[in-house]
């Protein structure tokens, strides 16, 4: 007996408007219909009417949590268009803020995963320790969320000796706390029970559905733009790509915590060999007609910007593909045959940044017809008949 449950567009588990219609048989999900577009802001059309400098702050507001990744991806592309060569110190600071953002984004995700699984103490503690990174970002860039540290040809603010010492100083508390959370995440029985074997995505499915970021790396695909196509100073920084092959939400948690530990090493490396010199070069107002593809490893996956210029001071075309969009096809695959209780967890596992990915809907229409008789089948069949009557009368609300 099928009951279709609408989760969203407004729902406590979803911080942003996205609509999931689950066809559920008892507690098991039969198929999922994902509907987006609720806060599509027409960003690509808007970018064509703003100058290069203004577009930096426009791309920054694509996503609140990974704002630095979109600006860096955009600024790198435009620097190639304008043939600018940012100085080494500017690139070092840009990579530093990128890694600090990855740390704060992963710590935020750990908290959200804990909250979705009902583990509120884990949520409180991870977000308390995330404040250390937020304060660092606020001291360096002057703002906790939209750092706006990038400009065409380098960065806008320098790091003085006191800030450098503060960053190095707070690294070991962060390292100690992250190892503690890895221990908790792997050992707390009720938490692990909610994470293991949930949202299974095999390696072949991940490849076929072009999954990106930690979701793909947790299924055993070593795919990291920082290694495959190094930008900024990732060519010189020693780090390894964190992968796991358990293909489930627990694997994604482990991958993200390993990435946190890698980020601490990168930040330490960056702070220890920060070269001195200027931090930015002067940028012209116009860019010659040209096109560029710029890629960036955001905390959620690979970011890609395709920018084409036509000689004026406004871009001809700016195509943005945020990582969450890449993972939506994989999410539908994971949701099938899961439990209702797992919907928020599976959905949170790809760390969805819905405002980033205002571009995807996918229907899986495997209408498996078999009728499972359950002990409560009689109760549920009554519920089913009630809904049909209910939905007919108010069908304007739920367009089935």
């Amino acid at each position: 007996m099928k009951v279709t449950i609408p989760i969203g567009p407004q729902h406590p588990a979803l911080k942003e408007p996205i609509s999931l219609r689950m066809t559920v048989d008892g507690e098991v999900i039969k198929d999922a219909d994902l509907r987006l577009g609720y806060n599509h802001r027409g960003l690509e059309k808007l970018a064509e009417q703003k100058t290069w400098v203004q577009n930096i702050y426009l791309t920054e507001r694509i996503c609140g949590i990974c704002s630095h990744s979109h600006t860096t991806c955009f600024v790198q592309g435009v620097e190639k268009l304008m043939e600018l060569d940012p100085p080494k110190r500017g690139l070092y600071i840009r990579t530093l803020v990128a890694e600090l953002e990855r740390v704060h984004s992963h710590l935020l995700w750990l908290g959200v995963a804990g909250h979705e699984a009902g583990f509120d103490s884990f949520f409180m503690y991870t977000w308390r320790d995330r404040e250390v990174v937020m304060d660092l970002l606020e001291i360096i860039s002057g703002n906790r969320v939209h750092y706006a540290i990038n400009t065409l040809g380098g960065v806008r603010r320098d790091i003085d000796e006191a800030q450098r010492a503060k960053i190095l100083g707070s690294l070991d508390t962060l390292k100690k706390r992250t190892e503690y959370y890895l221990m908790i995440g792997a050992n707390e029985p009720s938490f692990v029970a909610r994470l293991s074997r949930v949202g299974y995505l095999s390696k072949e499915d991940a490849i076929a559905l072009c999954a990106v970021g930690p979701t793909a790396r947790a299924s055993g695909i070593t795919q990291d733009v920082r290694k495959d196509d190094p930008y900024a100073v990732y060519g010189e920084t020693p780090f390894e790509v964190a992968t796991a092959d358990s293909c489930d939400v627990l694997g994604r948690t482990v991958v993200r915590v390993k990435e946190l530990l890698q980020s601490y090493n990168i930040i330490e490396f960056l702070m220890k060999n920060l070269p001195n010199g200027p931090i930015s070069v002067k940028a012209p107002r116009r860019a010659k007609p040209n096109e560029v593809v710029s890629r960036y490893e955001a905390p959620r996956g690979e970011n890609i910007h395709y920018i084409r210029s036509n000689g004026t001071d406004k871009p001809e075309r700016l195509k943005v593909r945020a990582p969450t969009l890449g993972n939506y096809a994989a999410t539908i695959k994971m949701l099938k045959n899961g439990f209702i209780a797992d919907i928020p967890l599976i959905f949170a596992a790809i760390d969805p940044c819905i405002c980033c990915a205002e571009r995807a809907v996918k229907v899986v229409d495997a209408r498996s017809g078999e009728e499972r008789t359950l002990r409560f089948s009689e109760l549920r069949r009554m519920a089913g008949r009630r809904f049909e009557k209910v939905s007919q009368k108010r069908n304007a609300v739920w367009p089935f």
């Binding site: 884990f122 009720s190 938490f191 919907i343 928020p344 109760l379 009557k389």
Partner: protein
Amino acid sequence: MAVLRTFLYLLVYPGVVFLFVYSTFAEWFDRKVYARLQNRMGPTHTGRWGLLQPIADFVKLMSKEDIVPERADKRLFTLLPIFGLAIVSTAGLLLPVWNFDLAAPGFTSFPGDIVVLLYLLSLPTLIFFLAGWSSTSFFSTIGATRVLTMLFGYEVPLFLSVLSPALLAGSWRLAEIARFYQQKPLLILPTLLGFVIALIAVQAKLERTPFDIPHAETEVVGGTFTEYSGKKLAFFRLMTDVEMVVSAGLLAAVFLGGFPGGALIGFVQFVAKTLFVIFLLSLMRAVTSRIRVDQVVSFAWRCLAPLAVLQLLIVILIKGFLL
């Protein structure tokens, strides 16, 4: 005179007024401990240290708009909160703290009152199911079916673990059980296993965090209480608080040796022991994460029930050889 005494007995001291005030205090204590465990402040600004916060919530909810879903069965929908509160308050009267001396016990202490108390405590689960069922929204129906599924998990271990100390004491009367353990305090030790099982089962009955699946807000929005608002929701919230106090009182009476010592000391004993049990409940709420409904049932039958039977075995052996 006797009428006045019973009237006072029912309404003021051991009865409704005291129970409501004490249950809001218990909720404040639970929220404050839970917050401090998570390194937060908890309610602080309503009254001294936030003491009036639960009462403030109750008053706010009472003044809010009260919506009844169109398709719902209006009479049932409206009466359920009142039934629930009534059931749980009458269960509160049966707690043995009120009859000070066994010679002239009040009318609420009779042989077999532990069975009545357990029955009255399992009725609220049925009330939750009907509440979820009668408000015909998707989420509340799922919440309702989850309440019943969980009921089959924790009910048997709860009954077994609570009744085994009664078996050891050889009587079904709460006051006598309490007096038995006051005279032989050493015999509390073998029933400690039962105490742990009962704690977990009560946490499930009260639908608190490891088992708050029926109204898990990230999955099924409000679960059984999705459609409730205004006065009805206020009554349901108060009902869960009173149920917490009553369950804590039951556990304290059966496992921690009741509340000896006349009126005043008995009252202090009652407050101390119930707050200790509530502290353990909020500790459990802070330590664990929410598990799925099927995991609750398998955990209950694969782990709680065998331990409860083991506890029963221990009690029978002790009763057979030692007493």
